[in-house]
Symmetry: C2
Subunit: 349 residues, 2 copies
């Protein structure tokens, strides 16, 4: 298996595989995301792209679980990752269900692949590792701080899988941080209209980018940011996108609502939940105005809690699930950071 990629690399199958269904080993009829096992073998299908993988950027929930399990069982993280990828043909943590993204170099492009890269380009995937066929030869090192793992191996990109060429003008770590959350600012930009009152719940990385995106359409007076942490709030407010900050716990809807009333806040046209805490749905909905929208970019969001509490409050609001993909989202977000020096420094820390 060790030299598989070098061995098979020149041939390509005639058949196309746009959704990746041909690489699902089980269960039958599933798509790669829902599959238990993927086939990462070569040759490529005609519309696939082969990547020489350098680094995996694991989802932080997955990495934390692997680290805890290392402490309990004594099995090194590297062995666990190799085991998972050998068994599943993809890096999907069986406990958390989550994946991450990868970095590498394009080494082969199927004749019918979309014309987005050239051989030799360094690229990052914008889809989850949970659906990316992956074969690992070895793990070279594990960086516990950044959830990153240096590896040797190959991955296969489907025609429909978003990926982006790494720009030369930004540090790699900054790029990764930005690309990881670039869906939120792209959707905020689309959903914000001139004159809107907008609230960002959560002042982390996504919150800073969401605020930057909203500030392209509305005045700082009309943009509000909230967080439970005073330090996070101060750091994001210092970027200057918003004039209004409310420090409050979004897990306590009534206190949240009262804090905004005391601050003289309007009801919002758009509330963007980029918190990472569970049970923050009701607070977000409560401060939206009738006819407004609430956009959830929080992976702890519960569908039933969101819809039942909106119905229970009799609030006529549109509830949106944050889709991590939007046409041009990576370019837009990288440009947002390029245009704004303080925002760039925010990501360099």
């Amino acid at each position: 298996m060790k030299t598989l990629k070098h061995f098979m690399q020149d041939t390509v199958r005639f058949q196309e595989n746009p959704l990746g269904a041909e690489r699902v080993l089980s269960p039958k009829g599933a798509l790669p995301q829902g599959a238990d096992r993927l086939d990462a073998n070569l040759p490529l299908y005609a519309d696939e792209t082969l990547i020489d993988v350098e680094r995996l950027n694991l989802d932080s929930a997955s990495f934390r679980q692997l680290k805890e399990s290392e402490e309990e069982s004594g099995t090194p993280i590297a062995d666990r990752i190799l085991g998972i990828v050998r068994e599943r043909g993809k890096m999907q943590n069986p406990v958390t269900g989550s994946g991450g993204m990868l970095l590498g170099k394009v080494i082969q492009i199927g004749p019918k692949a979309p014309p987005r890269f050239e051989v030799g380009d360094r690229v990052a995937t914008l889809v989850s590792l949970t659906l990316t066929p992956l074969y690992l030869e070895e793990i070279r090192s594990v960086h516990p701080s950044g959830s990153q793992v240096e590896v040797r191996g190959h991955a296969i990109l489907f025609a429909g899988s978003p990926a982006v060429k790494l720009p030369a003008d930004l540090p790699e770590a900054v790029c990764l941080s930005i690309l990881d959350v670039c869906g939120a600012p792209a959707w905020v930009r689309r959903l914000t209209k001139a004159g809107d009152k907008v609230l960002i719940v959560g002042a982390g990385k996504s919150g800073a980018l969401a605020a930057a995106a909203a500030s392209e359409k509305i005045a700082a007076e009309d943009l509000w940011i909230s967080d439970i942490s005073e330090a996070s709030l101060e750091k994001t407010m210092s970027l200057g996108f918003a004039k209004n900050a409310v420090q409050v716990n979004a897990q306590r809807p009534f206190e949240f609502h009262e804090a905004f009333q005391r601050a003289g806040a309007p009801r919002f046209d758009l509330v963007v939940n980029v918190s990472n805490a569970p049970e923050t749905e009701t607070a977000s909905i409560l401060v939206a105005k009738d006819g407004g929208k609430v956009l959830f970019f929080n992976m702890a969001t519960q569908f039933s809690r969101a819809v039942l509490s909106t119905e229970g409050l009799g609030r006529d609001v549109e509830l949106l699930m944050g889709n991590g993909f939007a046409e041009g989202h990576a370019e837009y977000t990288l440009n947002l950071v390029r245009r704004n020096e303080p925002l760039r420094r925010f990501f360099e820390v």
Copy 2:
């Protein structure tokens, strides 16, 4: 306690209680939906409405659980319900977390309550029982077929809680069936634009109403309905709203996609998931066009599955959670049925 409501009925507190926070006993800071226990005692707050409750229409998941537990433990359903309501001050099944709705007669209206009813009106609540303060004196009978329970007791309606006066021209059972799912057609009507291609996934009650709503904006040639059951599909297709039917299992995304391709279907501007089956998110997303919308009115929807599979497929679609409330949704849906004799018969069966 038995005569509490008659005893206290004439006095009303000065304070208002629009979100119901004053009636939350625990935990502190919660809203009624998230509370463990509510206070259903009188007198009313100034903006509340008192209802003499005649019937509870339990959520079907809750009723099934109560029935199974009756068979296992021998505790009659009636005793279980009385126990839950005595302990929690609301009818929220502790296992399923779900509630239902209620029917009754308005017997007192606080001086600051919204001017929507008169004393003596027969009304149905459009909010979940999971947030409605309820006091039960007795359970008079249990109708196993329809998840309905005849009771004696009182409930309290907050100023912000949607409720509707029962119309005289439609049978009560038809009204209840319709009011239970009136959010879906109201949102479909809003989201459908002339010329759109629309797909309804799920041909049950909600599917029939959603199809009726879509058909007010688009031609039958542009409306598609799918279901796994041939019988359900035939029944809903016979209403004449749509010209295109696809019988397929939405839990198998790849088969689903292929079935639509074979049928010569377009990619859809709007996909409405009103199925009640889990794991139907990916199929729904797969047949939506870029720039399109997918609306989930399926309580089995999983937030993470929906967003990760959309991102994984690189689909630029708007993902909407079905909000059970929309301004005027009950009136709109009742009128939809009034205008359409076959649809009315569909609900009478």
